[in-house]
Assembly symmetry: C2
């Protein structure tokens, strides 16, 4: 039997620009009775990372919001009413270029971190330094999908873990070489973590325990190159 | 602290048409020392369900395979070389209309169950009857996504659990009404389960424990209606 555990970590206060986010996470972990172990994956919703990094913008009017979405969009794929499906500077394709008006005071919006992979790396380094343990870090956001209703959490920043589990050349129990070769394992971790985080609750961090996925790579590596993408 | 556990259940033998799949799952659970509890979600890869239901087709040649993909496709969205992105009779949009040549003997292909929601319902009813416990059941397949590399598992059949967690009207800690209102929670469960299942390993079943999502609904409800879909 294989086993994975996911802990939703509460007790993290509202984050302000410049806060010691990792310190607050480690204190909350202690409060929850969770001691980090090697190979744990620390999953952090981007909202607290963005707040810590001061990625909060005032949007006094609906027009200011629209202008901000345009500004965050490198290209627009589709538009319907106020909904824009856009490509961000990072390469992510999502609703309203990831400009988010929830979990922030009225009249303000949250942007993604400028470089979420770097943010993940910074969090991992600080955890390693403070807690003396090598973990993976995944920063998440909530994206919609074409063709399927509902939203799921995906990885927008990664450190210490390979975003793609590459099974190229692996055979199944019949000896067939697998035609499913690349699993977006950090997106699966992000989705799993959301099961304990929730959207309305104050649980911005989850620990995923039981995987052995230490490796290198960036979440932007998950962006499908234009020449492979049939849906641009 | 919230907590979810995921158990990957090994010890399930190769499935033949007409096998007592639920009996084999329950025996394997016993072998793993896992006793089902109310609100557990039993996640089953469609491969074993399709085999049990005899959804195996001989494809002696590459042309026979291509013809089978066309036959399973209600409409084709994109085509590149041998890759077809197609809509199945169920409404799912995926590669090669979900015709699968892995995890089956060479010269054969697996199709999706005819009605995966009904298959899930049947499995749930048999578990309830044999084990005396009310669980949710999710049947999964592995899909690619536009714009993002790598594959993730999604729900193609559901019973005893609401596929969408609807947060309409819920407020965040700031009192804002959430703009993220519908979470595809069964897709998140499918993705989480894949973390313990793997693609090449003989772990076709996972138990997800710690959620309270009992409800009604079908996986086909996850198919975005054409008039809401900007990417047809």
């Amino acid at each position: 039997m294989t086993r994975v555990e996911i802990f939703g970590i509460d007790g993290i206060p509202e984050i302000q620009p410049g806060d010691d986010l990792v310190g607050l996470i480690l204190t909350a972990l202690e409060g929850c009775g969770v001691t980090l172990m090697a190979n744990d994956v620390v999953v952090v919703t981007h909202k607290v990372v963005s707040k810590q990094e001061g990625r909060v913008v005032e949007i006094p009017t609906q027009d200011a919001y629209r202008a901000l979405v345009e500004d965050e969009s490198v290209s627009v794929l589709r538009r319907r009413g106020d909904l824009v499906i856009a490509r961000t500077r990072h390469g992510f394709i999502c609703a309203n270029a990831a400009v988010d008006r929830s979990n922030v005071a009225e009249g303000y919006a949250l942007l993604l971190p400028i470089d979420p992979d770097r943010s993940a790396h910074r969090i991992r380094t600080l955890i390693s330094r403070s807690a003396g343990v090598e973990v993976g870090v995944v920063i998440t956001d909530t994206f919609g999908r074409p063709w399927r209703r509902g939203l799921v959490d995906v990885a927008i920043g990664v450190s210490g873990i390979s975003p793609i589990l590459d099974l190229v050349g692996t055979t199944d129990t019949y000896g067939n070489v697998l035609n499913v070769t690349q699993v977006a394992v950090v997106d699966e971790i992000a989705a799993a973590a959301d099961l304990v985080m929730g959207k309305a609750s104050a649980i911005p961090v989850a620990i995923v325990r039981g995987l052995s996925l230490a490796g290198e790579g960036r979440a932007v590596d998950l962006v499908r190159p234009a020449d492979e993408d049939l849906f641009r």
